[in-house]
């Protein structure tokens, strides 16, 4: 590599001075220390046959889940536009960063999510129907309608509860890793966050605690370039996220986050190091948020569409699709059947979810605040029931005279 030239992994040098969120050209020094690791190129070709460490059946299954997540995101945005759900936050373009990490972990490893990792929750066994009930906040919701859409929890799959405040899950994941070590468990937590979260105090605290205590944990930064309307370079003046690992005294790796194989391999390495007592890893997955932050914003208001175009060529699903075809694991008919199967799965789950009672029972309002409701909770429930009996509008969204 010519050390005098900036390293431009995607051939599109970013311009930090213009708030450009595309992968920035990094200096030769950093490119050498934190190369952007890629195993599957944008055309879906293996850079090294040895990099294909995912068993065929699992590769196909992970790709099916990528397709499921993509279709789910697209369908749910439509549902939100139709007014059937209030909010949605998806992961279009980031499926490899999410599924490549989650699928590379062991079933006993806890996942501390940010709020885009629905694919990881489903991978861990959260029934699609239950996830959809959560979007409706209806009686089928696993969190009893207590959170806005896309804040799922699934304890049976060790998928921890989602918080809207950013980065709070980082020190929590460190604590879980400490606990597992105390108990002698082979458990390595995987914790997700975005590039915006690297500005938060809990990012610093989490990484610092983990490195000082040398706990087994994997910090996955989905560097998707954007924190709502703010580009990555408005969050940090570091050329990469991965280099921050140096200051904390831990491993750092930087991978093409749209490359399922690179993400998978980096996660496997990080887990092996952690499980062997080698401490934490900061894994930067360089990816791109193809849509708005959520259904509540329109990205056209703050970023030029030209910036999005190059990333369409880097689509994480397309690369794996080409690999599957090249390896004979998928043909046109099989792919069509798979896509139709996913569509039908979503449709059927949606039908079941929409059939659930529209609200959880009113007494659930007072449950789970504590292990047992307090006396005042019982009084407040009685008062609420009386109010509802006296005037049904108490439970209705509209109460003014129309």
């Amino acid at each position: 590599m010519d050390a005098s030239q900036p390293f431009t992994p995607f051939g599109v040098p970013g311009d930090l001075s213009r708030g450009d969120a595309s992968p920035p050209a990094v200096s030769a020094r950093l490119a050498e220390a934190f190369p952007l690791l890629q195993d599957l190129d944008e055309a879906g070709r293996l850079r090294d046959p040895a990099a294909l460490t995912i068993p065929d059946a699992m590769l196909l299954e992970v790709w099916r889940r990528m397709v499921l997540e993509r279709q789910l995101d697209e369908r749910m945005v439509t549902l939100q536009r139709q007014g059937r759900i209030g909010f949605y936050i998806g992961s279009i373009g980031e499926e490899a960063a999410i599924l490549g990490t989650a699928a590379a972990m062991q079933p006993q490893d806890w996942i501390f999510p940010s709020y885009r990792e629905h694919a990881a929750a489903l991978l861990r066994g959260l029934p699609l129907e239950t996830f959809l009930c959560g979007l409706f906040g209806n009686a089928g919701d696993a969190v009893k309608g207590r959170q806005m859409p896309c804040h799922e929890s699934w304890a049976p799959g060790h998928f921890v509860s989602i918080s809207s405040p950013i980065a709070t899950q980082l020190p929590q994941a460190v604590g879980a890793a400490m606990a597992a070590r105390i108990l002698g468990d082979d458990m390595v937590p995987l914790v997700y966050f975005g590039d915006g979260s690297t500005s938060a105090n809990d990012f610093h605290t989490g990484l610092n605690f983990a490195a000082v205590k040398r706990v087994p944990v994997i910090f996955v930064c989905r560097n998707n370039g954007w924190a709502i309307s703010m580009p990555r370079d408005s969050q940090t003046a570091s050329e990469t996220i991965a280099q921050k690992a140096v200051a904390y005294g831990m491993r750092g790796e930087r991978v093409d986050g749209n490359d399922l194989l690179a993400v998978w391999n980096a996660t496997r390495r990080a887990r092996a190091v952690a499980a062997a007592g080698g401490g934490p890893t900061l894994l930067e997955c360089v990816t791109y948020r193809m849509e708005g932050h959520s259904t509540s914003d329109d990205p056209r208001a703050y970023r030029p569409q030209e910036q999005v175009e190059p990333w369409k060529r880097r689509d994480p699903l397309e690369r794996v699709r080409r690999l599957l075809h090249a390896r004979g694991l998928l043909d046109e008919a099989g792919e069509a059947a798979l896509r139709e199967g996913v569509r039908a799965e979503i449709q059927a789950a949606l039908a079941r979810a929409e059939a659930a009672p529209p609200k959880p029972p009113v007494e659930s309002l007072f449950e789970d605040v504590y292990a047992e409701p307090l006396g005042r909770h019982r009084e407040q429930l009685e008062g609420l029931r009386r109010a509802m009996a006296a005037d049904p509008r108490v439970a209705n969204p509209r109460h003014a005279d129309d």
Binding site: W110, F112, D141, A142, V143, K144, R146, Q147, H151, S153, W154, A155, V160, S161, S163, P165, T168, L170, P171, Q172, A173, V174, G175, A176, A177, M178, A179, A180, R181, I182, L183, M187, P189, N201, D202, H204, T205, G206, N208, F209, V212, K213, E367, D368, V369, Y370, A371, L374, G375, R376
Partner: protein, 321 residues
């Protein structure tokens, strides 16, 4: 035994009983804590169960959350209650809401121990009483003992409780408050107030360090012929309202004492509850004797604190109403 020794005793008892109990915080390890509350614990239980953390309260509580979710019973120490605010988000948005927001899937049982309160020449950042801020965050239990016996019994209960508990330790009387403490396992249920002085004319409600001031005021008032019933709340959330209501229905008068600022202090909640439940029994308005609506001062801390003379004057005025 004093309050610090009682806290240490409870921690040791619970760590011996339950291997899931772990202690973490700043200087809590080999040094045994700046107030010596964790002295000797690391020597007995090792560096994995009793450990120092980097200086970041949000990290201490955040890590404790992860440990609690995973099945341990962490007892993090915040060195002074004044330093708890970097962890406010973790406590209010994470600890308190974890069970609720996960639909009961992720309980978060932990005990945050922290010395609180003024009267030790600590100025603004070693003196505050933030109990009301945390009582307001549904999902937390808030406990505040006044004496060694209660400290041991309530801390034991807090560690065994299925819910997260903020355990406020009255540092003003850490060493000054001495008393008999039962040996071995000793448990006092949360949510039970203690009537520490029976009386018939006026109810005085206090907790923590200010209970001692309330008790002194009641003794001085007795010399003036005012017969006070003193209640040590011990647990602020859950609140033993029945004991307070029964007392005020008997006495017809109520004085609430706390060292936190007046406005939106827990005394406001108590005054509201007492007037709701005891309206027809009241002979005088519910009176609050509290800190002022200022930051906690250094030079004027005696004037700031609701000590016995101010409480005594409030008792006189309540009786004369």
């Amino acid at each position: 035994m004093n309050v610090i020794q009682a806290v240490n005793d409870a921690l040791r008892q619970e760590m011996r009983r339950d291997p899931r109990v772990v202690v973490l915080g700043e200087d809590v390890g080999a040094f045994g804590g700046v107030f010596r509350a964790t002295a000797g614990l690391q020597a007995e239980f090792g560096e994995e169960r009793v450990f120092d953390t980097p200086l970041a309260e949000g990290g201490i509580i955040g890590a404790a959350v992860g440990m609690a979710l995973y099945g341990l019973r962490p007892v993090p120490e915040i060195q002074f209650a004044d330093f708890i605010f970097p962890a406010f988000d973790q406590i209010v948005n994470e600890v308190a809401k974890m069970r609720y927001r996960s639909g009961g899937q992720y309980p978060c049982p932990l005990v945050i121990r922290t010395p609180y309160g003024g009267g030790i020449k600590g100025g603004h950042y070693h003196s505050q009483s933030p109990e009301a801020l945390f009582i307001h965050a549904a999902g937390l239990k808030v406990v505040c003992p006044s004496n060694p016996r209660d400290a041991k019994g309530l801390l034991t209960a807090a560690i065994r409780d299925p819910d997260p508990v903020l355990f406020l330790e009255p540092k003003r009387v850490y060493r000054a408050a001495k008393g008999e403490v039962p040996e071995g396992e000793f448990f006092l249920p949360l949510g039970e107030a203690a009537v520490t002085r029976p009386g018939g004319q006026v109810t005085v409600v206090a907790w923590g360090a200010m209970w001692h001031e309330a008790d002194q005021a009641a003794r001085e008032a007795a010399a003036e012929g005012i017969d006070c019933e003193v209640i040590d709340l011990r647990s602020l959330q859950p609140l033993d309202l029945d004991t307070v209501v029964a007392s005020v229905k008997k006495t017809g008068r109520c004085v609430v004492v706390h060292e936190a600022p007046l406005t939106c202090g827990f005394g406001a909640e108590l005054a509201a509850l007492v007037q709701e439940r005891c309206f027809t029994s009241l002979e005088a308005p519910v009176t609050r004797v509290t800190g002022f609506d200022t930051p906690f001062p250094y030079a004027l801390e005696n004037e700031y604190l609701p000590r016995a003379p101010r409480i005594l004057e409030a008792l006189r005025q309540t009786m004369a109403y």
